[in-house]
């Protein structure tokens, strides 16, 4: 029987090769494999430093009364900004879910490929647009052109435009990635498109859409420029849609930019701490849902 393939010439198989060049190659590979992971420190150290210092500045002075007292803005309490943030985020999220979900379903199910491509592209571009541009747009459209003034409603609309593309993209992706055989089985056995979307598509796509919503919330709650440019800090919690409203990020910016005294800075750090915790929790939730979702989807494909 012939031996095919190449055989290393006497004793020079690569595994036993001890020439300088091979030693250099293997050594380089080993060392770069040890050094490159150190680059993770570039990402991890700042995160730890940020979390540590902001907690250190905020936690000792943080108390239940600071969080809940609704004494007027910019004194010593965060009650007003927290209520403001909560209200703005609730309405803005609802609007963004409305726009994003309808847009996503329409794009995934009804639009022709060409149009859908354009819509997806513009959603992607909207994600990449600097937030200052959206703030500027909101300022000109809602505050000046519609004459709403610096108000709750102008901030809500601007922020919801900011959040919409994130929800849109996940809704679109979720409905497009419903397994083809399930979609065709539903439509083939006589379901109307609306029935398919409500009964079949939505339950399958739901977890992914949920991650999109939480992601959009995490990004929206940390947005500063659109909010600062479209609302003005209110002394009290908003009582009508045209009244001023205070957002946490706005409080940080205002306290930082205008009056860098110790008390206001402490308040800014407390607000930053709250924001950070909120964002981290939202991110963890996103991760948990998407992990669970991946398992479910794998089950679906089997």
């Amino acid at each position: 029987m012939n031996v095919t393939g190449t055989v290393a010439p006497e004793g020079r198989s690569l595994l036993y090769d001890r020439s300088a060049r091979t030693r250099w190659r293997l050594g380089f590979d080993r060392w770069i494999g040890r050094l490159l992971p150190l680059l993770f420190l570039v990402a991890i150290l700042p995160i730890l430093s940020l979390v540590y210092y902001i907690s250190a500045k905020a936690v000792p002075t943080l108390s239940w009364t600071v969080l809940t007292s609704t004494s007027p803005y910019r004194t010593d309490a965060l009650g007003v900004p927290i209520i403001g943030t909560f209200e703005v985020m609730t309405v803005a999220t609802l609007l963004a879910v409305l726009f994003g979900l309808f847009g996503g379903i329409a794009t995934a199910e009804f639009l022709s490929d060409r149009v859908a491509g354009w819509v997806r592209m513009s959603a992607n571009l909207l994600v990449g647009t600097p937030s200052i541009i959206l703030g500027y747009f909101g300022y000109f459209t809602f505050v000046l052109y519609f004459g709403w003034g610096l108000s709750f409603i102008a901030g809500v609309f601007t922020l919801s435009f900011f959040m919409t593309p994130y929800i849109f993209r996940t809704a679109d992706l979720a409905f497009t990635s419903v397994p083809r055989h399930i979609r065709e089985a539903a439509l083939g056995s006589g379901a109307k498109p609306a029935q398919y979307i409500l009964r079949i598509g939505t339950p399958i796509a739901f977890p992914q859409i949920l991650t999109g919503i939480f992601l959009a919330m995490a990004i929206g709650v940390g947005e500063t420029a659109p909010i600062v440019l479209t609302t003005t800090p209110g002394v009290l919690a908003p009582h009508s849609i045209y009244s001023p409203v205070t957002f946490l990020t706005q409080l940080i910016w205002e306290n930082f930019a205008q009056a860098p005294s110790t008390g206001l800075q402490t308040l800014a750090f407390q607000a930053a701490f709250l924001l950070m915790v909120t964002v981290i929790i939202l991110n963890v939730v996103v991760r948990l849902i998407s992990n669970r979702f991946r398992k479910r989807l794998e089950g679906l494909y089997q």
Binding site: L14, R25, L26, F28, D29, I32, G33, L36, P37, L39, F40, V42, A43, I44, P46, I47, S49, L50, Y53, I54, K57, V119, M121, S122, L125, L126, G128, P130, S131, I132, I133, G135, Y136, F137, Y139, F140, T141, L150, P165, F168, A218, G222, T224, A225, L229, T232, T249, I252, W253, F256, A257, F269, A272, L275, M276, V279, I280, L282, N283, R287
Partner: protein
Amino acid sequence: MILIGIIVALIGATSFTNFGWQFFSFHWDPPQNQWGIGVFLVGSFLTAVPALIFSMLIGIGIAVASTTYLPEYLTRWLDPFVDLLAGIPSVVYGIWAFVIVAPIFGATIEPWLVGNVYFIPGFGPPIRSDGLGILISIFILTLMALPITTLLIRDALRSVPKDLWESGLALGATRWEVVRRVAIPHGRRGIFSAAFLGFGRAFGETVAVAMVLGAATNLPKNVYDTGNTVAAQMFELLDSAIGGTGSPQFLAALAEMGLVLLAISLVVNILGRRLIASLYTEQVQGL
């Protein structure tokens, strides 16, 4: 989604006024009716380009480590940290940089640089003691662009077919040689798109930069000096103009700054997205 169109139309409509090429001059002096944004454009590029270079280099390093060298049980814990960098709000970065990082830069890093690498143009004295300026902005922008670049490069490297990895290894190449000669060339589109989108992020970043760059209106003398970017300058102007004291010229100047910023970020984003889009169609067709 028609919003993009609205934005372009709106900004275009409010800005076709009386500046012309004067607008790109280096003379910003509103009381004298001089509205040149050259200083801010220079500031934008001066901070965004180095930040992009750093974040690309670090991003490639992290992505290679994560896809090639580290075992899965480690990357499962390490990768989320990088993703978390993307989630931290920019005001939080800003306040952290201003209060915690700037003193470190002012007291330690910048004096060291002046003492040791002063011979590089732009790194010589004088320095400011508070640490605010170009250098710390580059640092912050690097951190903010890092998750985008890392994520996209990681995806690009993961999308290299396993066959190619294994045939490379089977031919006797080391892991580094496979990454260098096979995986990076194969994923180059994803890597380029990471560069474009990371640049878009760094270029358009507003609040954090407004907090640490120092809001100057003259050209920076060296890397320790203060400056300003288009986005941050717009933000500060709008924030102070909101009281309602805007002259028509003032609003027009803002509109043109917005237009310039939007144009640059749109070009960068379209290029980046097209690269990814063609990447995906290629993969789908390949299946």
